[in-house]
Amino acid sequence: MTPEETLEILKNKFPDSEFTYDNELPVDAYIIVNPKDLLDVCFFLRDEENLQFDTLMNLSGVDDNNATKVKDEEGNEKLEGRTLSVYYHLHSMKFDHKFYLKVSLPIEKPEVESVESVWKCADWHEREAYDMFGIIFLNHPNLIRILLPYDWEDGSYPLRKDFETPEFYNGMKIPY
């Protein structure tokens, strides 16, 4: 089943929500989903008779770094509209078709439902995305740091594009 057909099914099933089809070359086509619908969409994709996306191949957080300069009322320039994205690469073992999802979250409040209940393997991937980008996965059973040490500074997420190496880590100078 091609992504386009899947998109049609999705549109019919969720008439209230928006799906954006993104297909620039050589991009793999992906569908942008509204964060609030994500969990329902994922459950639907997994359980629907002729879709059956039973595996989550990959889940990756991305810092889009797409802030644009806007002027507020007082005329000061500030950056706005920066988003963090989560890409979901789904795959069906049964039908051997793929489907890519994307949700974009505002950087001020990067919160999205966890899909751990849909695909177990999302557990560590989500922890990694939390670890590196600070994306909060709601209802995740154990959302703690995974690759970075547990005492890593709160609110410091290394894979964000504006991350700067701290001068000290646990009282040790960097670089030593």
Binding site: E24, L25, P26, V27, D28, D54, T55, L56, M57, N58, S60, V62, D63, N65, Y87, H89, M93, D96, Y100, W119, K120, C121, D123, W124, H125, M132, R145, I146, L147, L148, P149, P158, L159, K161
Partner: protein
């Protein structure tokens, strides 16, 4: 009334003889019985993904070497193909053939380490050294070809760093001849040994549906009885030209998806890899291996998710390019990282000694988990 004793928390690792690297397992024990296992990872985190954002595309290749350091060739292979797809480069036949041969040799080498260290985990030290001595032959082939024994940086975007050594074809054929009887020897020495079978059969059974839900791939998934191999199901490079089987776990000594199946699938995969090498080695066409290497690797804007059958499982590269010479984001779906997730589930209700045999059968490489 059952007697309730106090639970004991045992820290296995990060420095422990058989955690296959710096992995810490927090075991909750009742006597020797496992109640819960929590893996703690990240001790080997080397910021691969952050590094990539500061590197040009060719410079990333040596970093991919260091992820799954037992299968560097396969990592290189995957990365090179992913970027080639992103850029629309077509490499010539010679490159494809050499790549496939190298990747299959690497698969054998990687499985040798997996099987050997599994033997050590169970307590048999000798098969480990026999396999390492044989692995040395593969490493020598690699060394003659590209000059390095472990971290090759051999497969470039658009080609290879060197053409094969003039002796390569002959020596590879010799190796195939030499290695077939060695597999039988390994089977007699370790695989069919009663003690080994007792230790591994019916231990850590992973049913197929759980495996799929956990996203398990590679030999572990196949041992659970799922006939799934990206070389057949989603062929990349020229794998569709070769005739080989996908070994699956049949539960010969126990239940489908137990540790022995996971072990034995790897043994059978070595035989299949030998088959592929035999078919490919005679048909290497002439050509220039650096023909398609671009002067400047600058893919157009876009993203790609490409996946490859590594010895450990499905290796996925998710590359986003913003049109510059540096990748915008490289995310690696490391097979061991995903396979490790199910570990806690498998261990419950087994003994301490079984933790070791289950961990060994997962064949994780911490360099890849932590990246």
């Amino acid at each position: 009334m059952p007697i309730k004793t106090e639970e004991m928390v045992l820290n296995m690792g990060p420095q422990h003889p058989s955690t296959h690297g710096v992995l810490r397992l927090e075991l909750k024990l009742e006597g020797e019985l496992i109640l819960d296992v929590k893996p703690h990872i990240g001790y080997l985190h080397r910021c691969f993904e952050k590094h990539c954002e500061a590197m040009t595309y060719p410079q990333v290749v040596p970093y991919t070497d260091r992820m799954d350091y037992l299968a560097s060739m396969s990592n290189n292979f995957g990365y090179a193909v992913a970027v080639e797809r992103l850029m629309g480069i077509q490499v010539n036949e010679r490159v494809e053939y050499i790549r496939v041969i190298m990747a299959e040799l690497q698969r054998i080498a990687s499985h040798m380490v997996a099987l050997g260290t599994y033997g050590v985990d169970i307590g048999a030290f000798t098969p480990f050294l026999f396999l390492f001595a044989d692995r040395e032959r593969i490493l020598t082939l690699f060394e003659e070809t590209c000059g390095a024994r472990l971290l090759y940086n051999y497969m470039w975007v658009g080609g290879l760093s060197h053409d094969i050594h003039p002796d390569f074809v002959r020596k590879t054929k010799d190796f195939v001849q030499y290695f077939r009887p060695k597999i039988d020897e390994l089977n007699n020495l370790l695989s069919y040994n009663k003690i080994f079978v007792e230790r591994t059969a019916n231990i850590g059974i992973l049913p197929a549906d759980v495996a799929i839900n956990y996203g398990i791939t590679g030999p572990i998934l196949r041992a659970s009885g799922v006939k799934w191999d990206l070389r057949k199901n989603d062929p990349y490079s020229i794998y569709d030209r070769f005739d080989f089987d996908i070994p699956v776990g049949e539960g010969l000594k126990g239940t489908v998806g137990d540790c022995w199946d996971r072990y034995y699938v790897r043994v059978l995969e070595m035989v299949e890899s030998l088959k592929i090498i035999e078919q490919a080695i005679d048909n290497i066409p002439e050509g220039d291996v650096q023909e398609a290497v671009p002067k400047r690797v600058k893919p157009p804007k876009g993203s790609i998710y490409a996946r490859f059958e590594n010895p450990k499982g499905e290796l996925g590269y998710f590359i986003i390019s913003d049109g510059s010479v540096n990748p915008f984001r490289v995310k690696v779906r490391a097979p061991s990282f995903v396979n490790m997730e199910v570990f806690g589930e498998l261990c419950k209700g087994h003994f301490v000694a079984d933790v070791i045999s289950i961990l060994g059968s997962m064949d994780v490489v911490l360099g890849e988990i932590d990246r």
